[in-house]
């Protein structure tokens, strides 16, 4: 439990720091944009008028998006044994602050999935379902930043980034007694890369691959211990649709 609390504390601090950095960066960029360079008080007005216009820094902006994730879990054998699938589909959403500074962007996203299965036993590699219903919920919250490189006049934008992950995990079983269900959060990290394309001026669609790791979240009991699987992360293929305000 101590390690879980430490992990939660770390991710809270990291997330707050990332958010603060994003907000501060955004504020600075905004200040650059809204406050023109101070005019030289001694310069003749004509000179001022004849000077070429300074290139305007791109405005940072916010957009929201919805995501459709398919995650190949690191604990694939465990999940396959209990819920019958090694890959989970999640639906989520989030927001991105784009063009904070040049191609820098920041994002916050959350998704979730809820699956039902059966408690089971494992013997010589054979999984034996016991018919006791089990429900598992995963709720990853990611706070990340990255870099975008617009191509083709901004129609195609490859990007990449990294961030921290806060994985909410809940497991409940019928007939469970006190202490046998679990609801915890674990700290992890995520790296990602993808490409997005502008569909219309205010809608983009993108595809992204993520590698998530949430170490030591599993493996202390249950089938995850039997399989020796301790990571609650995995590889995620994400489809996203973003809407600019």
């Amino acid at each position: 439990m101590a390690s879980i609390e430490r992990g939660t504390h770390v991710i809270r601090v990291t997330a707050l720091a990332a958010m603060a950095a994003i907000v501060l960066t955004a504020a600075a960029v905004h200040a650059q944009e809204v406050e023109p360079a101070p005019a030289d008080a001694t310069a003749p007005e004509s000179a001022s008028q004849s000077a070429p216009p300074r290139p305007r820094a791109p405005r940072s902006y916010f957009r929201g998006y919805v995501t459709f994730d398919s995650t190949a879990l690191a604990a694939s054998q465990t999940f396959d044994a209990i819920v019958g699938k090694p890959r989970l589909s999640m639906v989520g959403g989030g927001g991105e602050l784009l063009d904070i500074w040049k191609g820098l962007f920041a994002r916050v996203a959350v998704s979730s999935v809820k699956e039902t299965g059966s408690r089971a036993e494992l013997f010589n590699g054979e999984v034996i379902p016991l018919g006791i219903p089990l429900t598992v919920e995963l709720r990853p919250l990611e706070v990340a930043a990255g870099w975008r490189v617009p191509l083709l006049a901004g129609r195609l934008v490859p990007y990449g980034g990294a961030g921290v992950l806060r994985m909410g995990y809940r497991e409940t079983s019928t007939f469970a007694m006190a202490g046998e269900d679990t609801s915890e959060t674990f700290a992890g990290s995520v790296v990602f890369g993808g490409v997005e394309a502008r569909i219309v001026s205010w809608i983009v669609a993108g595809a992204e691959v993520q590698y998530r790791t949430v170490p030591d979240a599993l493996g202390q009991g249950g089938l995850s211990e039997a399989f020796g699987e301790s990571d609650l992360g995995g590889t995620t293929l994400r489809l996203l649709i973003g809407i600019r305000r």
């Binding site: 598992v136 007939f175 979240a217 009991g221 249950g222």
Partner: protein, 535 residues
């Protein structure tokens, strides 16, 4: 005229009567039994192998001689298995090594193992050794006698209580007061997951029998001075529905007839496994929704006395005469496995290894059955290894069971050793802080004074009471019942059943496995709950 002088005439007359009874009584009973085991409960009847003769007069005398001489085998009787492909001529050649030079026609076969009786050589160890030296023979062994573990205390009794208990679940009136043993292994919580198992799971109990019919019949019995016709009364347990009995079989005494219990041990074991629950009568069984298959492989004092009287042999036998012969055990194990039993309870043991029994156990496991064996009650009597429990470490799917008392301390009698795998409640009067009786394992069975040769010369087998026994015989059925519950939840591999039961024990004694408690005390609820993702 002295009874001894009348013996030949009586013998001849009784032989005629016995033959007539076989035609008139036994054959119709077989039909009745076949009907009962099948359509009554709407399921296919198990495949019943042909009936073998049970307790012959030669075998009775062999049991008597074994009791007199303190032998652990039937004199002059061996079990022999020939190597694969050996034809009758080869068998006869191997048998020629014996002094009596019997032919292969003298062999009685059961499951590939032959029984041979050689009256000219009572030393069965010598017979077996002579056969083992023949190249045609895979193994040969005396027909060893195993015993339901000797009683370590006189049973306690109480009348059957009726009336639902308003507070307890199950509502059987004596459950709350007496069945500490089930609470010790988490039975109440296990029942919320799996209430008593499934009738699809059959638990075979190879033991002294289980009366499946109410019957009163005149039988001849030596009562001290003369042979007397006495009415033998049998009844079924009032706390067990006969609809949950399937394929009942008497291998050892009178094949073809119901496997009447003349002692009470088998009934107690069956009651621990599957006595009715939630019926407001007496006590509960752990796997009360399963079906049971009583297989009588043990005979005791009364069966031997009845058979001797049938053949006009006067006199009393030692009260501990009888036992469970390896030939009958092996045959019973194969019968149960072929008949669809998924769990076999063996609450008996002996200090000799028996290839025939071991082979039958391996066969049963290969047919999908879990086999459970009692460790034995000999801790304070030399603490020798008893078999078949002694085979447990080398056979996956065979579980050896020691006993603990109410405090979870090892019961004072429970044998120990590297072969112990788990412990279960067997009861003890030494570690119960609320009276000796409260430390026993209580179930409904025959009223002990009715069946004790120390108390009566005319027994009856029709009165059931709540009886407290202690012993590893009582511990083993807890494990058998738990195995039945696991199987009803879908764990069909006997090796997996053993692995789960052992993995989910509560560790007792020194941390980890030890020779007193094995892996620890079985925990029914933990076993049934299985594993989730993180917990």
């Amino acid at each position: 005229m002295k009874p001894a002088h009348r013996v030949p005439g009586i013998r001849r007359a009784l032989l005629v009567i016995a033959a007539a009874m076989a035609v008139v009584l036994v054959l119709p009973l077989r039909d009745i039994q076949a009907q009962r085991s099948g359509p009554m409960i709407g399921r296919a009847a198990p495949r019943l192998p042909p009936v073998e003769p049970g307790l012959t007069i030669e075998k009775v005398q062999a049991f008597a001689e074994a009791a007199d001489r303190g032998l652990d085998y039937l004199p002059g009787e061996v079990l022999v298995k020939f190597r694969a492909g050996v034809q009758p001529a080869g068998q006869t050649r191997a048998l020629a090594a014996l002094r009596s030079r019997p032919s292969s026609d003298a062999l009685r076969w059961s499951g590939g193992v032959a029984r041979l009786r050689d009256a000219s050589e009572p030393d069965a160890e010598r017979l077996a050794a002579q056969l083992r030296s023949q190249p045609e023979v895979e193994y040969a062994q005396p027909n060893y006698i195993r015993r339901v573990p000797r009683r370590v205390a006189e049973p306690r009794t109480a009348p059957i209580r009726t009336g639902a208990s308003p507070l307890a679940v199950p509502n059987d009136p004596s459950y709350g007061d007496m069945q500490w043993n089930f609470r010790l292994i988490q039975a109440p919580a296990a029942w919320t997951i799996n209430p008593g198992g499934s009738p699809d799971v059959i638990v075979a109990v190879l033991d002294t029998g289980f009366s499946t019919e109410a019957l009163t019949e005149p039988r001849t019995l030596w009562t001290g001075q003369v042979f007397q016709q006495v009415p033998l009364r049998f009844a079924t347990s009032s706390d067990f529905s006969q609809a949950r009995v399937v394929g009942a079989r008497d291998v050892a005494f009178e094949p073809g007839r119901p496997p009447f219990d003349y002692e009470g041990h088998g009934t107690h074991v069956i009651s621990t496994i599957a006595e009715e629950a939630n019926n407001a009568v007496a006590l509960a069984g752990l796997a009360y929704a399963t079906r049971v298959m009583p297989v009588k492989v043990c005979v005791g004092y009364w069966e031997l006395m009845l058979m001797r009287a049938t053949f006009g042999i006067p006199g009393f036998l030692p009260t501990d005469a009888g036992g469970c012969a390896d030939g009958d055990i092996a045959e019973g194990i194969r019968y149960a496995a072929d008949g669809g039993a998924r769990v076999l309870n063996l609450s008996f043991g002996g200090t000799t290894m028996a290839p025939a029994v071991r082979e039958a156990i391996v066969y049963a496991i290969s047919r999908g059955a879990v086999v459970v064996a009692a460790m034995g009650n000999g801790y304070e009597d030399g603490n020798g290894v008893e078999y078949p429990a002694g085979h447990a470490p080398e056979i996956e799917g065979l579980i050896s069971v020691g006993a603990v008392g109410k405090s979870t301390a090892r019961a004072f009698y429970s044998s120990t050793g590297p072969h112990i795998e788990v412990v279960a409640p067997g009861g003890s009067f030494r570690d119960s802080d609320d009276g000796e009786d409260a430390g026993y394992v209580w179930q409904v069975t025959l009223y002990p004074p009715d069946t004790s040769p120390l108390v009566t010369t005319v027994p009856r087998f029709d009165r059931y009471v709540e009886v407290g026994y202690i012993g590893t015989s009582m511990a083993a059925p807890h494990v058998s019942a738990l195995a039945a519950l696991l199987i009803s939840q879908g764990v069909t591999n006997p090796r997996a059943v053993e692995a789960i039961i052992r993995r989910t024990t509560r560790d007792l004694g020194p941390a980890g496995r030890d020779d007193e408690y094995g892996d620890g005390l079985i925990q029914a609820r933990t076993a049934l709950f299985g594993r989730g993702i993180a917990r």
